[in-house]
Structure formats: structure tokens, C-alpha cells
């Protein structure tokens, strides 16, 4: 389906456009003046205040007409110039974001992928097996009902403060310097585990329950009944049911991304993990609007890329989309 892909691409381009426009527009639509807010931190005399204000307005380009500002914003985006951070003065927004990005990705990607696979397997196993179902289902619901924020408090409390098994904050032991040796890497992994576990647990229940219900539905389907009537083993019927049920789960994964990214921010802040979540928190508490805007647009781009990857996987997994792309009528 060429149409399918074009539609997808148009959606992505438009979503990016909307994201950038929101990012540009929110600070300008909101009440209050960011520059004024920033300057209010330094107690300046009125003469030097106006001088400073004009200087800032000039550097940030806020003295230009709006359309010009908008175009400049796009230009800055494509040339990788998102401005300077106010919170960490000489640093560029882009370098701060790229510094935090690895931590966020190291948490998000394993948590998303593992919880998706483990959850799906668990759910499929639980479907129509009484004893497993009776344990997976209630636990799944409880996990699903847990607020991210609370889990991000309870997990470090139990594993760190009460049982002393894992460290509860920071990315690596204090006093260590980043290096490619075993001490550093093991410390990194050791500190990584709990925030990862939190994110993993939160998503697990949802996937398990979703898969369980879909597989039950598929097992009662006409195609499954037909296979049984043909004498197929239950194991084979289940395998096909699982494959069919995987498709909606996969699109569900794309839709859940935004929620997981939000959960990641909460988790990072609770664990003081120096990823984008922590950075955005610092940006907010320090009124660093350039940094805030920079992170927002990076997260939007990240979610769009992840969506695109899932789309590609979907095409690879679902033969119908491929067939129709070759022009056959599926």
C-alpha cells in the first residue's frame, strides 16, 4: 500500500511541524515574559536592567516580528542551534541534551523492549490456563494501577533503604570518573538496575493483560476452531493465536510510547538519574526556557523516530501490509 506509507509520512511530517510550532508558540502565548523572569534573578539597577533586557531581546531575537522569529526558530533547528542554556551558562542546549540522552535511552529502550516481550509471553501463557491466569491477572492489574511516581519511591525504598541491595540514586558511585574500565561500568550497571526495574514493572502488567485478552479472543476465533477441527495440536493453535494477537499489541506499543516517556521522566527525577527527565526538571526549576524548548523538541523527535521504527517492524511482521504494497489486493 503506497497510500499507507504516504499517509504515514504525511502524519510524521505534520506531527513534527505541530511539535515545533507548539514548542515555539507556547512561550509566546503564555502570560509573562521569560526574559523578565530570567533577569529578575539578578538584582539589577533600572538602567542596567533595560540595557540587559535589550541585549537579551536582541540575542534571543524577541525584538523581531513574530513571523521572523518563527522562521529563525526553524533555521536554528536545522542548523542545530537551539540557543544557550541559562542554567548551565556557557553550555549549549544541544550539548546538554546530547549529554543526557544516553542515560535516558539506556533506561527506556531495555525497559520498553523487555517489558513488551516478557509481558506478551506471560499474557499468552496465562490465557485459558486457570492456575497461571489466576496469579498473572491480579498481579497485572495491581501493577497497572500503580502510579509511576509511587513505584519510583517504593522500589528504591525497599531495595535500597530497607534491604541495602541496590543504590538508590545517581548514575554511578560518587568519586568515580567516567572511564572504560570494569569498576566504572559495573558501578554504572549497578546504579542503572533499579530505575530500569521500576520502568519495566510498570509496563509489564499492561502488556500481559492485553496479550491474555487478545489470545483468549483469538483462541475462540473461527480460524482457531477450524484448525482444531482439522486436528491441529493445541500448541500449534496457540502459536497462531499468539502471532495474530501480536499485531494489535505492536500498534499498541507505538501508542504507549508517549506514556512511557512521561513515566521515564518521573522515574529519572525520583532516582536523580541524569537523563532528559532530570534535565527538564532542572530547566523548569531554573526558568531555563531555551533548555526546556530544546528538550521538548528532542523528545518529540525521539517519539516520532520510535513510531517510525515500529511502523517498519509492523510492515515486516504483517504480510498483509507488504502484499498490499506490492499492489495486490489483500
Amino acid at each position: 500500500m503506497r497510500r499507507y506509507l504516504t499517509r504515514k509520512m504525511i502524519t510524521y511530517v505534520l506531527a513534527f511541524f505541530v511539535g515545533v510550532t507548539l514548542d515555539w508558540g507556547i512561550p509566546r502565548l503564555m502570560p509573562g515574559d521569560p526574559i523578565q523572569a530570567m533577569l529578575s534573578k539578578f538584582s539589577l539597577q533600572s538602567a542596567s536592567y533595560t540595557a540587559q533586557y535589550d541585549a537579551f531581546a536582541k540575542t534571543f531575537g524577541t525584538n523581531l516580528p513574530l513571523w521572523q522569529q518563527y522562521l529563525n526558530y526553524w533555521k536554528g533547528l536545522f542548523t542545530g542551534n537551539l540557543g544557550l542554556s541559562v542554567w548551565a551558562p556557557p553550555a549549549k542546549v544541544t550539548s546538554l541534551v546530547f549529554g543526557a540522552l544516553p542515560y535516558t535511552l539506556a533506561l527506556l529502550i531495555p525497559a520498553i523492549v523487555l517489558s513488551y516481550f516478557v509481558g506478551n509471553r506471560l499474557g499468552a501463557a496465562a490465557a485459558r490456563r486457570k492456575w497461571l491466569d489466576n496469579s498473572v491477572l491480579p498481579i497485572g492489574y495491581i501493577f497497572q494501577a500503580m502510579p509511576y511516581a509511587w513505584l519510583a519511591l517504593i522500589v528504591p525504598y525497599l531495595f535500597g533503604v530497607v534491604w541495602h541491595i541496590f543504590p538508590t540514586s545517581k548514575p554511578y558511585a560518587q568519586g568515580l570518573l567516567p572511564a572504560w574500565d570494569w569498576t566504572f561500568i559495573s558501578s554504572l550497571l549497578y546504579h542503572w538496575f533499579l530505575p530500569f526495574l521500576t520502568l519495566f514493572i510498570v509496563s509489564l502488567g499492561g502488556w500481559a493483560i492485553g496479550m491474555r485478552n487478545l489470545v483468549i479472543y483469538e483462541l475462540e476465533n473461527d480460524s482457531s476452531r477450524y484448525m482444531r477441527a482439522l486436528g491441529a495440536k493445541e500448541r500449534v493453535v496457540r502459536r497462531y493465536a499468539y502471532r495474530n494477537a501480536s499485531l494489535p499489541q505492536l500498534s499498541g506499543l507505538a501508542l504507549a510510547l508517549g506514556v512511557v516517556v512521561g513515566g521515564n521522566i518521573v522515574t529519572e527525577i525520583a532516582f536523580q538519574y541524569p537523563g532528559l527527565g532530570q534535565l527538564i526538571f532542572n530547566a523548569v526549576t531554573n526558568n531555563d526556557y531555551f533548555l526546556l524548548q530544546g528538550i521538548f523538541i528532542f523528545i518529540v523527535i525521539g517519539v516520532l523516530i520510535a513510531n517510525f521504527v515500529i511502523d517498519l517492524v509492523y510492515v515486516a511482521v504483517d504480510p498483509r501490509t507488504r502484499l498490499s504494497m506490492q499492489g495486490a489486493t489483500a
Partner: protein, 349 residues
């Protein structure tokens, strides 16, 4: 609940073939509504369960069965469904706590009423926080705020989602394309990050703002589901008859189409209610929730900010989470029970 159900029964029934035909129409429907299956699997991810089966039911059940018997069926199965009874019962406990709690609780949640960081005791049932505020009073008050935000979020999401979903599904064509594009785009913009950016510029925020914001970012789930259902219902005979009889589109949607997805919509709204409460807790935890409101998320935020973990101040951050988990889990369980009541295929075999 019974309102939504009984409404569904007031539909002019089209003379439909019996059970066998119902089965095949089921498959047809699910074939058409794969998109809605997708949607629900992540509303709160559990939603998957409701869409695939219920989609079939709400469309399939249009078949001509006596009105009274159907309604009786739902009550019959509802009263015998352990999940529904358990979920509703548990939820009722929390609702009562939210209603009566503030009367029992002796203190104002924001008032400094005693020494700071007291362990739970006879006077301060759940101890006090660092400033000497009563944790129990904060908690029952927080339960109220959670329900309020959840309701606001669910209602605003349903209003917007249903309006756009009905329009897209009924009109089709270019309008449908535009609305679908809009929902697809909105789904990809992470709402928490958006609220952080907006919140950073707002000096103060209200509960109404938080609830409506949540609704305005979650309506795509409703819109997609409603659109898919409307799309498959609008070509059914009873809708044709209504059109021929000269009814106006609005009245057809309200009287013919909406009742047929009432049970299904009801389930989606319950899930939205739960997820709105969870989202609000995240916002409050980050300190971008309503200003000067003591909600469950705010309590967790206060505890986290004051290193409650490391001083073993468990009474400060464990109770709000337990309560919120219970509130949402009860909704989820009741939701599964309701699903089984509405959909014969899911009942215990």
C-alpha cells in the same frame, strides 16, 4: 451503569438472523475495527481486552431479542460476576472514604497541627509530615482531589472524543481524514512533557485546568473507538431505515448509533477515569499539578523532596500510593467484570 445499559436496549431492533449469523457479523466487525483494537491496547494498556470482544457485542447485540430479557440478563450476570462485585465493592469503599473522610479527619490538610514527623499514633492516625501536617487528613483529601481530576479528565475526553468520533465516522471523507490525522498527531506528542512546558510558564494552575488538560490530551482514544464503531454501524439496516424516515443526522447518531455502543463507551470511559487519576498523580509528583492543592501526588512529591525514603518515614509516602493503586485497580477489575457481563463470549466457561 444500568442507565447506559438500558439505553442500549431502547434501540429499534432490526429483524436480524439468529445466533449463527451473529457470529459471522462478529468477525466482520472485528475485521473492520482492527484500528479500535489497537487504540484500546494502550489507553491504559488493559483496554485491549474490552475492545476486541465488546466491539463485536455492541454491534452484534442489535439482533432482535426481547428488551426485558436482555436487561434482566445483565442484572443476572452482573450480580453473579465476582470481579464486578469485588471491584465495585472496593471502589465504593474508597468513594465513601473520600466522601466521609474529610468529616472524620480532624485536621485541615494544609494546617500545621502538631510536631513534625510524628509516627502514626492515636491523635495523628498516619503520623505527620515534616511541617507537622496530619498525613491522614491529607490522604482523604487527596482521594477527593483524585476522583475530581479523574472525573474531569474522563468527562472532557469523552465529550471531545465522542463529538469528533461521531463526526468522523458519520461523515467520512475529507473530514474523517482530517480528524484522523489530528488524532494520530496528538497521540505522538507526549502529554506530560507538553504539560511541563506549559506549566513552566503558568504562575498558578487549578484542578479544573489539570483535569481539562488531561482530557484534551487523552480524547484521541475515545475518538478512535467511536469513529470505528460509528463507521461500522452507519451502514446497518436500522440506520438506513432511520435515514429513509427522514430523521436528521444528529438524531440518528444520538438515538440509533450511540445507544448501540453505550456499553462499549462506558468501559472506555471507566478506563479513562482511572488513567486520568494516574496521570494527575504524575503531574502532581513533578510539582506541575494544581497550586496549593494537597493531592496524593503532591504528598508523594513532598515526601520525595524531603528525603522521606532515607529517614524511613514510610507513613508519609506509602499510604497515598496504596490508596491510589487500590482506587485504580478496583476500577480495572470492575471493568473486566462489566466486560464479561456485556459479552457472553468472555463469561467463565
Amino acid at each position: 451503569m444500568s442507565d447506559a445499559v438500558s439505553e442500549a436496549r431502547h434501540t429499534p431492533e432490526s429483524p436480524d438472523p439468529a445466533a449463527e449469523a451473529l457470529d459471522s457479523s462478529l468477525d466482520l466487525t472485528t475485521g473492520q475495527t482492527t484500528e479500535s483494537v489497537t487504540v484500546a491496547s494502550s489507553t491504559v494498556a488493559a483496554a485491549t481486552q474490552l475492545v476486541a470482544p465488546v466491539a463485536g457485542v455492541s454491534v452484534g447485540q442489535v439482533s432482535g431479542v426481547m428488551l426485558g430479557r436482555k436487561r434482566g440478563d445483565f442484572v443476572y450476570y452482573g450480580l453473579r460476576n465476582k470481579k464486578l462485585i469485588f471491584g465495585l465493592g472496593l471502589e465504593l469503599v474508597f468513594v465513601l472514604a473520600a466522601l466521609i473522610g474529610p468529616i472524620i479527619a480532624k485536621y485541615n490538610p494544609n494546617a500545621l497541627v502538631g510536631p513534625g514527623l510524628t509516627h502514626p499514633n492515636g491523635t495523628y492516625w498516619l503520623g505527620t509530615d515534616n511541617l507537622g501536617r496530619d498525613v491522614f487528613s491529607q490522604m482523604v483529601n487527596g482521594t477527593r482531589e483524585s476522583y475530581l481530576v479523574g472525573a474531569l479528565g474522563a468527562v472532557s475526553a469523552s465529550v471531545v472524543g465522542m463529538a469528533l468520533g461521531f463526526i468522523a465516522g458519520w461523515r467520512g471523507g475529507i473530514l474523517d481524514e482530517i480528524i484522523q490525522m489530528l488524532t494520530n498527531i496528538l497521540v505522538m506528542i507526549p502529554s506530560l512533557v507538553l504539560l511541563i512546558v506549559i506549566g513552566a510558564y503558568l504562575p498558578s494552575r487549578s484542578i479544573l485546568f489539570e483535569g481539562v488538560f488531561i482530557g484534551l490530551t487523552t480524547w484521541p482514544w475515545v475518538a478512535r473507538a467511536v469513529r470505528a464503531q460509528t463507521f461500522s454501524l452507519r451502514s446497518r439496516e436500522f440506520v438506513d431505515i432511520a435515514k429513509l424516515s427522514g430523521k436528521r443526522p444528529l438524531s440518528i447518531i444520538v438515538k440509533e448509533i450511540a445507544p448501540n455502543m453505550a456499553s462499549y463507551l462506558f468501559l472506555v470511559i471507566i478506563l479513562l477515569f482511572g488513567s486520568s487519576m494516574l496521570l494527575a498523580a504524575s503531574y502532581d509528583f513533578l510539582g506541575i499539578g494544581p497550586t496549593n492543592v494537597m493531592s496524593l501526588g503532591t504528598m508523594m512529591n513532598n515526601a520525595n523532596q524531603n528525603a522521606a525514603l532515607f529517614f524511613h518515614l514510610w507513613w508519609w509516602f506509602i499510604p497515598p500510593g496504596v490508596v491510589l493503586t487500590g482506587m485504580v485497580a478496583a476500577l480495572l477489575v470492575a471493568n473486566v467484570g462489566l466486560d464479561e457481563v456485556f459479552n457472553p463470549k468472555l463469561r467463565e466457561q
